[in-house]
Symmetry: D3
């Protein structure tokens, strides 16, 4: 069991029964780190597909789609950082700024490479955010 899946399985435990959660500026109050995680899984899958292919057109498409998906990861993470987290959360979790900065930087790095470990690192960071997110929901 990898660190990433352990983080998520921990998040799964703490977050059950997984109600839904804010992601617009109304604000509607529906936020969920799953949005970033799903796109990051897609980034990782694009890398694996790129590495497993020797068809140039396919590889070009993998690079192109990974770029879009990584941008979506950044967007979903930025929204969580700015819109969901409040000063009291930051007091309890002073590492939040640095964590989001590094996670969004990792999504940027994932655009530039097809090294799967970069996507895994991104997923691990999203896993840490997910864990903190669900702790603030308790």
């Amino acid at each position: 069991m990898t660190i990433v899946s352990r983080l998520f399985s921990f998040a799964d435990r703490v977050s059950a029964p997984q109600q839904a959660h804010a992601h617009c500026d109304l604000p509607c109050g529906v936020y969920d780190p799953a949005q970033a995680r799903i796109e990051a899984e897609s980034v990782k899958a694009c890398m694996e597909k790129f590495n497993g292919s020797d068809d140039n057109v396919f590889k070009t498409r993998a690079v192109m789609i990974k770029e879009e998906r990584a941008e979506l990861v950044k967007h979903h993470l930025w929204v969580l950082w700015t819109d969901y987290f409040k000063p009291n959360h930051l007091e309890a979790h002073p590492e939040l700024h640095e964590l989001f900065w590094n996670a969004t930087k990792a999504a940027g790095e994932a655009k530039k490479t097809n090294d799967v470990s970069v996507a895994e690192d991104l997923l691990a960071k999203i896993g840490e955010i997910d864990k903190i997110f669900w702790e603030t929901k308790k």
Copy 2:
């Protein structure tokens, strides 16, 4: 416990340990009905906020944001229908076409009203899709 939450909790059981799943045309193979569900929860929350307010500007913003979120619900559902589901899934679940048609029509209806039961009906339909989705993953 509502029908919707029962459907999701069933989906939660059948889908564990919830690996990730295709949503682009590479295809990367990462799909997840949670994307549609999160936006639909946002649609429902916008309706509740609209109904609970008597501030015209706020109500305008609720209508506007609900419109966008409902469009995202439609998009995520269309992607699942066209890209994830294959002829063999349709054989096992012949109701799929009608279910997606009605679910995306329900998302369209949710743009036109602030009647929360319309959003709940939408969520119930997404719950049915979610259940079938995870059954095909077994």
Copy 3:
């Protein structure tokens, strides 16, 4: 005269004097399969340009632009399916669900290949939809 152009010329006859037709969820009531067809022609043209070139940068751009145009085809078709067609249309044309499913799947296939026959198949399916669309307008 190809099957595709015959289908369109038939549609041209039945649709005259070609009034305009709904594509938003107001709904404004303006729909027109021409939107999907124009993008699909662009998909086909991108393939032809790709096949006729030996400039790698140009070929990369053709793949990239085809991806966007095929996505627009899917979007315009999904909108027609969910928003324009009503239960009474489905009774008269029970093949509609399968036709739209296959047409949007064909648009997805067109992203993955530069085989012009795939784009022609997509255009033929849009032609069938166009024919049914204009019959419902009579």
Copy 4:
């Protein structure tokens, strides 16, 4: 028969058998003023729906959707102006710059009002562009 429909019916005659035509910067060579016209018909329909309703939420949605559709009109017209028309077309049709400038300004005006005559004026201008477009195709 209005001026607009006469212009379009003229365009219909000159443009038959209406092959398809460029709208990206590859360029794929597929252009068609129908894209702008369909969105402009939607703008007009939104105005009519706005004027015929006394439901505030519906009216808000009509304004919002009209704004998007009018933006699409502008986009499709700008693409035609910059990408399709060439210096030799301008020599033959020296009014093109002024015509596109006024047509896109009319689309901007259509965002600001629910006066249907503004949308009709926009449609008439698109009709003039359509006529010139198909003349250049002869």
Copy 5:
């Protein structure tokens, strides 16, 4: 002379001769806080237009457009924070995380109100970011 304009005029001095600067993940290396500032000026202008009008449709449009412009402010600021600023910048300017967090939160607040002072506060924060940005360019 307000605090905001003083900050900008200071930035003008330190940034001359204003070369250009990264805003994509290539990265192309072209960044400029002017992008966020221009959109924030638009947010402020929308508020002023809203406050100065008694036309409901116009006011609705002002709210709608302000929402989009404020979202663009957030986007441009997030890009600067994640993509431009590096660990060595943070060492020299440890307030950066908090400053960007508060500036993007201020853009979110600006969606919810037509109180011009909120837009001015947003502009002041962008001014502080602009000042630090150009200091890192020296």
Copy 6:
């Protein structure tokens, strides 16, 4: 000092104290040619990065991102042309139509090549627009 930088430095002089300036159809009244210029600088930087690299994936990404940035240049220029400039500006500057037509065509050309002189020509044209823009503000 190149022609481009001279044009901009002239614009800098005439435009001080650089107030802000309309770019939506409210209209909010905030326009600024800097938006087009920043994206055009990015286009140029993408070309330079493309030419300086022999990594195929990196080159693909440079082409892809340049395509997006050039599209943004076109958009910002079109908005200025249609929305900011009025008939009285055209009387004083009768070259405006031709200048915007050529500038947006240059942005289209920049998508098709990695010849930096094309981007420099684009920047020079934006510089001319910028100069006229700030003259109309005097």
